[in-house]
């Protein structure tokens, strides 16, 4: 991160203003801002659009100085520079400069580091950013989230409503000056805990609904709540933004299977969820059906929105590790790994060899148990209620036992630390891991395949169901097994390698069906590849010194140098990214989770239209979402 901008590009940036923390926080310390180095790709963009529009941004990527041009830049990046996939889109609030920065990360599907670009809008909501959904349909939910959390409007967005909160909610919660009802302080640790920490319940300390701004004359008894906005109207009249928006760019959609012409039938709207056995938690699907055929589907999210990011910005860097366990609660350690790698990248530290091996072992075991779970519950959704799932939960229990023995908790392991891991395997635990990897799990996978892979019922129910082509999958930013089942060999372990995955000999399985059956089969293949990695890792780990699990001294008060990073890992669900902004303090300034489950759901609508209602359940199951990660 040096300021080696190529010769002509050193025009004074319009806003090199330091990312000053507001007065309340670290007022004494204003970190120096380093501008990003111009990469060849950034130079190409700059040459095309000119130096006025494209300038190097602080720390990472380039800044599009005119928000109105963002879509053109995105289109150029996609079509000329082949950044086919929008990995991540989020926003950062800088109240000191009175701007909200919208951040985009785009990736090559062939691999490499993502390219970052940003644009800035004033905080007063006067300027709308053109939506990039016509270029990258995968931006739909992410833009809605930015709107929901920051109040940034996106023009020509197909369906700009609140996504995690409800319509009518007061304020933009992730803005730095917004305070929640139980607001106690900007950052943890709170002063009230020590040395004068008399216990007091938050609900007593802060009377009910403090910090809530009710509009004048608000009367709860007369208030008509409309948490969904115009959801039903738009679905009933078909004025659903998706069909309406006709931006100048052709998004190349496959033909949408609609209603068969001929007999005129009434279409009805059915809500599935949030309490529904098939929705894997508290997801709500609003489907418009014509008989049994789905003609439109909208997802309503946010029923498990636990304010992970707001809490994450109050937390210290260390505090966030156990919280990441609760993102995708099936595979906690994969999330931890992503977060820890992101922070390590910012701090510039390297974990020890042994810790790297332990991380890989844990992450791959997590992948196996997550896939067991996913396959078991796809069968649940298919109607094979619980019996097959029981077999896989049994195997998962054995893996979880190992997690518990090593880390102390079955699911919320809290195992990884910056620069290492919390505990080493004892020889007995290593022996147990070997027993699992070399004997038990291969047997279990064999049995799973015997039961399912060639099963005619499974085939009849899943082949051709929920099809999505490779192009559309990429456009929708679908990642993980679902993308690989559509024929795209995109796996972060190979595309943007992290940790020590480059040492292992393993394949990225690819299938070309793009349907539910292939999504099931790819998970089986991936489990086998994970076993391959595990076999190598368990053989090699003995070459590392036992007990050497922490680089440097173990600390609890980390200060992360000012900067920002986007680090991503391949979790069992797909690409999990952490976009972190540090102002040099003990707490992250911005803590954003690019969750694969959330973004994978973007494509659900297109997959289900034209399918039967019963298949929607299976399609959802095959996407393998975890609501904790969807809603965060």
């Amino acid at each position: 991160m040096s300021e080696t901008t190529p010769a002509p590009a050193t025009a004074t940036p319009a806003k090199p203003a330091p990312k000053a923390a507001p007065a309340a926080r670290h007022a004494e310390k204003k970190p120096a801002v380093t501008l990003a180095t111009m990469t060849p790709e950034m130079n190409a963009v700059q040459q095309h659009f000119g130096e006025v529009l494209i300038q190097p941004a602080p720390f990472e990527g380039f800044l599009v100085t005119d928000p109105a041009k963002v879509r053109d830049v995105a289109l150029f990046l996609r079509d000329q520079l082949h950044f086919e996939m929008l990995s991540n889109q989020t926003a950062v609030d800088y109240p000191a400069e009175n701007v909200i920065e919208v951040v985009y990360h785009v990736s090559h599907i062939s691999g490499g580091r993502p390219l970052c670009f940003k644009t800035r809008v004033p905080r007063d909501e006067s300027v709308a950013v053109p939506s990039v959904t016509p270029v990258y349909p995968g931006a739909e939910f992410q833009e809605r989230e930015i709107y929901d959390m920051y109040g940034v409007r996106f023009s020509e967005h197909p369906d700009l409503r609140r996504i995690l909160m409800w319509e009518g909610f007061n304020g933009w919660p992730l803005r730095k000056d917004w305070k929640e009802a139980y607001y106690e302080g900007d950052t943890k640790p709170f002063d009230s805990r020590w040395p004068g920490g008399h216990h007091k319940l938050a609900e007593e300390r802060v009377p009910w609904a403090d910090n809530v701004n009710y509009p004048p004359g608000f009367d709860p008894n007369a208030y008509v709540s409309n948490p969904d906005g115009n959801l039903y109207e738009s679905m009933l009249t078909g004025t659903n933004g998706h069909e309406l928006s006709a931006p100048e760019i052709d998004i190349g959609a496959d033909t949408v299977v609609g209603v068969e012409p001929g007999l005129k039938t009434d279409q009805i709207i059915v809500n599935m969820g949030p309490q529904h056995p098939s929705t894997h938690g508290v997801l709500r699907m609003v489907v418009r059906i014509d008989g049994e055929t789905i003609t439109d589907l909208k997802l309503v999210l946010g029923y498990l929105h636990r304010n992970h990011e707001k809490i994450g910005e109050r937390n210290t860097w260390l505090h966030n590790i156990p919280y990441t366990d609760r993102l995708d609660y099936i595979c906690g350690m994969a999330n931890e790994m992503g977060y820890v790698i992101a922070v390590e990248r910012m701090m510039g530290i390297q974990p020890t060899e042994r810790a790297e091996y332990l991380r890989v072992i844990m992450a791959e075991l997590t992948r196996i148990q997550s896939h067991f779970w996913a396959i078991g519950f796809v069968l649940n959704d298919l109607g094979a209620f619980y019996t097959p799932a029981l077999y896989f939960i049994t195997e998962r229990d054995l893996i979880i036992d190992l997690f518990e023995a090593v880390t102390g908790s079955r699911m919320m392991c809290n195992y990884m630390r910056f620069g290492g891991v919390a505990r080493d395997f004892t020889p007995e635990q290593l022996a147990r891991a070997r027993e699992l990897v070399f004997e038990r799990i291969p047997r279990a996978i064999d049995e799973l395949e015997r039961l399912l892979s060639d099963n005619e019922i499974i085939k009849a129910r899943t082949i051709g169901v929920g099809y999505m082509s490779a192009e559309r999958s990429i456009a929708y930013s679908l990642t993980g097994p679902c993308l690989r089942a559509a024929g795209v060999p995109y796996d972060i372990r190979r595309a943007d390698p992290y940790s020590i995955y480059d040492r292992f000999d393993f394949d990225i399985p690819v299938l070309y069906g793009g349907d539910v059956y292939d999504r099931y089969r790819i998970r089986v293949l991936e489990m086998r590849q994970s076993l391959r990695i595990l076999e190598q890792a368990l053989n090699q780990i003995d070459q590392t010194p036992a007990g050497d699990i922490q680089a440097g001294k173990k600390a609890y008060n980390h200060r992360v140098p000012a900067g920002q990073t986007y680090a991503r890992v391949e979790t069992p669900k797909g690409e999990l990214g952490f976009y972190l902004v540090s102002d040099g303090g003990q707490n992250p300034w911005r803590y954003h989770v690019r969750s694969s489950s959330f973004i994978n759901l973007n494509s659900m609508r297109e997959m289900t239209i034209g399918q039967k209602v019963a298949d929607a359940v299976v399609i959802l199951g095959s996407l393998d979402i975890v609501l904790g990660e969807v809603d965060r």
């Binding site: 409800w166 938050a202 609904a209 004048p216 608000f218 709860p220 208030y223 304010n307």
Partner: protein
């Protein structure tokens, strides 16, 4: 829910002042209570309803290793109208709580609520969040709280056993659902500018008026 405060469920019935002294050991009533509670406590139908991380442990509890069926509780009903027990397994968010209250209202009496895990008990680690309800007991009467994040399957089973103990202590003569009068219905909270509990509507109206006069804290 009416609770008998004595140590043994039979004591109060035996010493009921309305029963003549010679009939103090009224075998018929006590046996019916016992039989009734014995039957109920061993055939609880929980609602198939998971909220968050704890739901995974709930599924594991129902799976082979811990096998909820040993207690006669394995019949998870997806419909609240067939369920006796609501296991609130996970974080209760403000957006979700109207649905939970509605589900609870749809459950027939006798009905019980278990708050599983820290989040359902008090909001847990997410308590400070703006979309998190600090405990389902703000809205529903909770019978058993299980701390832990998430509780182990055994801890959930222990919570079940605690609930069984509670059921054992209930008497046919005191339980509310054989009494006259309307069943308690919890008003469904409203999603306004924030979650609005209608039982506190008066308070909120007062606040709004006070705010108008004071004009404190303009909106961001």
């Amino acid at each position: 829910m009416a609770e008998v405060a004595t140590n043994h469920p039979m004591d109060e019935i035996k010493n009921d002042p309305r029963v003549p002294a010679e009939l103090n050991n009224n075998v018929f009533i006590t046996t019916l209570d016992k039989l009734y509670n014995w039957g109920r406590k061993r055939s609880m139908w929980p609602m198939l309803f998971g909220l968050a991380c704890c739901a995974i442990e709930m599924i594991c509890t129902a799976a082979s290793r811990h096998d909820l069926a040993r207690f006669g509780w394995e019949l998870m009903r997806p419909s609240p109208r067939q369920a006796d027990l609501m296991i609130v397994s996970g974080t209760v968010t403000k957006k979700m709580v109207p649905q939970i209250v509605r589900l609870y209202n749809q459950m027939p009496e006798p009905r019980y609520v278990i708050a599983m895990g820290a989040c359902a008990t008090s909001g847990g680690p997410f308590k400070e969040g703006y979309n998190v309800v600090s405990g389902i007991d703000k809205f529903l009467p909770v019978d058993v709280y299980i701390p832990g994040c998430p509780p182990r399957p055994e801890a959930l089973l222990h919570g079940f056993i605690k609930l069984q103990e509670k059921i054992e202590k209930q008497s046919l003569r005191t339980v509310s659902w054989y009494r006259k009068g309307e069943a308690t219905v919890v008003p469904v909270p409203v999603l306004g500018p924030d979650l609005t509990d209608l039982r506190r509507a008066q308070e909120i109206v007062g606040r709004v008026q006070a705010n108008q006069t004071e004009a404190v804290q303009p909106a961001a």
